[in-house]
């Protein structure tokens, strides 16, 4: 049997292969140099300004709106005639304490307890005393921030602030809180204890800071 002849390979042609990564179509455009981009039209300017304004409203608008929504509401709550707190809208007086004299403002599960007492010492001493004599005796577990933060009220008085989390009394859920201690030059001490179930304090803390900031001590 005659086998068919094997296929003869085609002779290779000499063909110049274009260089790898040869000029893409875009580069071809160099034959016609691209025109100089025109100056931005008025609408580009307007669009950019509008976009910048939108960014501003989105980023800062919440703070402005929240400020407008938290106006002082009702008369100030006074304790022993030396500490006065102006409740913001949504906050109401939930109770008063006897010794030392104090009051509680509430909004939902957010609370601000504040007491007034005579105190000879620094605001750091006052906050330590509050932790030792009030928080620790009432807590089954307590964790207090190691560092105290300095705060200055609108009136110019300065104080310190600490945070805590713990289990108190028969409550099943952890309580998180923030204590601000202020001592006036006249020896009036004020404790502001903001607290709520764990995870909820963040939703009222801005209100509470505003009320403390505007509080009058002494």
């Amino acid at each position: 049997m005659d086998l068919p002849p094997p296929p003869v390979p085609e002779p290779l042609r000499q063909v110049e292969i274009p260089p790898p990564g040869g000029p893409p179509a875009i580069a071809v455009g160099t034959l016609n140099p691209p025109p100089v981009p025109p100056a931005p039209s008025k609408i580009r300017w307007v669009s950019t300004v509008v976009l910048a304004a939108v960014l501003g409203v989105v980023v800062f608008g919440g703070y402005v709106a929240a400020g407008a929504l938290s106006q002082p509401a009702g008369p100030p709550v006074s304790v022993a005639g030396v500490v006065r707190v102006q409740p913001l809208s949504g906050w109401e007086l939930a109770g008063r304490f006897g010794s030392p004299p104090g009051a509680r403002l509430s909004r939902g599960s957010g609370n601000l307890d504040f007491v007034a007492l005579s105190f000879n010492g620094s605001s750091l001493d006052l906050v330590r005393e509050y932790v030792n004599q009030v928080l620790e005796p009432g807590a089954e577990q307590l964790s207090v921030s190691k560092e105290a933060e300095s705060v200055t009220l609108r009136s110019g008085l300065s104080g310190v602030r600490i945070r805590y989390i713990g289990l108190f009394g028969k409550a099943q859920a952890s309580i998180e809180g923030e204590v601000t201690a202020i001592v006036s030059p006249a020896g009036v001490g004020a404790i502001f204890d903001a607290w709520s179930p764990e995870g909820l304090l963040q939703y009222v803390i801005d209100d509470i800071h505003r009320m403390i900031d505007r509080a009058q001590v002494g």
């Binding site: 292969i17 274009p18 016609n32 950019t48 919440g62 929240a66 909004r107 709520s196 939703y203």
Partner: protein
């Protein structure tokens, strides 16, 4: 054997002039110093970049190993997503400077601004609804709107900087998805360190929850969708009324916001409350799928529609070139179908080796570039067009000279 262009053949698909002319031939970089939008982009990125670097430095100091592991894992996730999104645009890949700009906007500007915006609007929710309501609803009522606006603003800036690059909705998806990818990566690092504890085991748990279980459904989809809306508004000026363009853009944006809202809200929440058993861990991807798959399907449909339209553009741009030295009717059929393109290269590799397959890839790329040139010039004998035709022909000649290459050039089946 020599391959000569055959006699002029009718185009595979009839020309559809109603599609208009894409502007594929234009390529613009991010650095348009004459555009006010560029300076706004730069100012915001620089201002927020300082904050981002400070935050990342803090994370790195808190947990060096957790921070490094976070970035390593997220790069493993982000690089394939980046490649997949970038390559989605089959015919005209977007300029890398703009794509990277979109990524940076999402990673640096949008994340930082969103942090402030969410806090501010969170106060509003708390003021109106009280702490209990706020604890359940703040995320759902703030983040979808603030974050989607801040992210899509990046696409809008790119459209203002380089409007020629937004040819159709697919381009908007690419830029939007890149913004979303940058946002997701930096937000995930924040979650891994601040929420999942930052230890290596916490980071791994976070990676499982936020990336393996939910990585398909998040910011990439949301911003990709709203980016399509921006692109629709920009690119359909000659085809749709202003009202329709605004309506479509708004609708796509609202769909993205709704998808984000659904994800953050207590609705359809089947995530386990505690992670005590293997079953709890397995429940997470199922719960994520319930919330995320509807939007994923919607986006896939939108992408398919956008790709169909791009294919129509390619047909339109190359119709007059069919039968020229640069393009045969069969080659156009292959170009129009990504699967046929891959199949033809595979076939070429089998018959003529890797070098021939690479050359065929170049030929196909240059034939697509021919479409770009075709859309840019007016005259049939424009020097750029003539040059590109000659270039394509020289590539084909070179390919045909390679042993075994010629048979594989013939497509088996032009796609329908």
């Amino acid at each position: 054997m020599s391959v000569q262009p055959g006699p002029p053949a009718p185009p595979v698909v009839p020309v559809r002039p109603s599609l208009g002319r894409p502007r594929w031939g234009h390529q613009t970089s991010l650095f348009q110093l004459r555009q006010p939008a560029f300076w706004l982009f730069l100012a915001v990125v620089l201002a927020t970049g300082y904050y981002t670097v400070t935050q990342q430095t803090l994370f790195q100091r808190i947990s060096p190993s957790g921070w490094a592991l976070s970035w390593l894992l997220l790069l493993l996730y982000a690089l394939p997503i980046f490649a997949a999104v970038y390559l989605l645009d089959l015919y005209e890949r977007e300029p890398l400077s703009l794509v990277v700009g979109a990524l940076i906007w999402g990673a640096v500007a949008a994340t930082t601004l969103a942090g402030f915006a969410n806090e501010g609007w969170g106060f509003v929710v708390a003021r109106i609804g009280g702490p209990e309501f706020a604890s359940r609803w703040t995320a759902a009522l703030t983040a979808p709107l603030t974050e989607e606006i801040l992210k899509v603003a990046g696409v809008a800036l790119i459209a203002l900087i380089a409007v020629d690059e937004i040819d159709d909705v697919m381009d908007g998806f690419v830029y939007g998805a890149m913004v979303g990818l940058g946002f997701a990566v930096v937000e995930d690092v924040l979650y891994f360190i601040a929420i999942f504890g930052g230890t290596p085991s916490g980071v791994l748990a976070g990676f499982y929850v936020r990336v393996i279980s939910s990585g398909l459904y998040g910011h990439v989809l949301y911003t990709g969708l709203s980016g399509m809306g921006i692109a629709y508004f920009v690119s359909r000026r000659h085809e749709a009324t202003r009202a329709k363009r605004i309506g479509v853009a708004l609708l796509l944006f609202l769909v993205a916001v709704f998808g984000h809202f659904l994800w953050d809200s207590p609705f359809l929440n089947f995530f386990p409350g505690h992670l005590n058993t293997v079953g709890d861990w397995l429940q997470i991807p199922l719960a994520a799928a319930i919330k995320g798959i509807p939007l994923l399907v919607f986006v896939i449909v939108m992408i398919k529609l956008a790709r169909r339209r791009e294919r129509g553009w390619l047909e339109l741009a190359l119709a007059s070139e069919v039968g020229s030295a640069a393009l045969t009717r069969q080659e156009l059929g292959i170009l129009l179908d990504p699967h046929a393109r891959r199949r033809s290269r595979r076939d070429m590799r089998t018959r003529a080796g890797e070098g021939a397959a690479r050359l065929l890839r170049r030929l196909q790329r240059e034939q697509i570039n021919l479409a770009m040139v075709r859309t840019r010039v007016e005259l049939d004998d424009d020097p750029a067009l003539v040059h590109q035709r000659a270039y394509c022909r020289s590539l084909r000649d070179a390919l045909m000279a390679m042993p075994g290459a010629a048979p594989a050039m013939r497509p088996t089946e032009p796609p329908g």
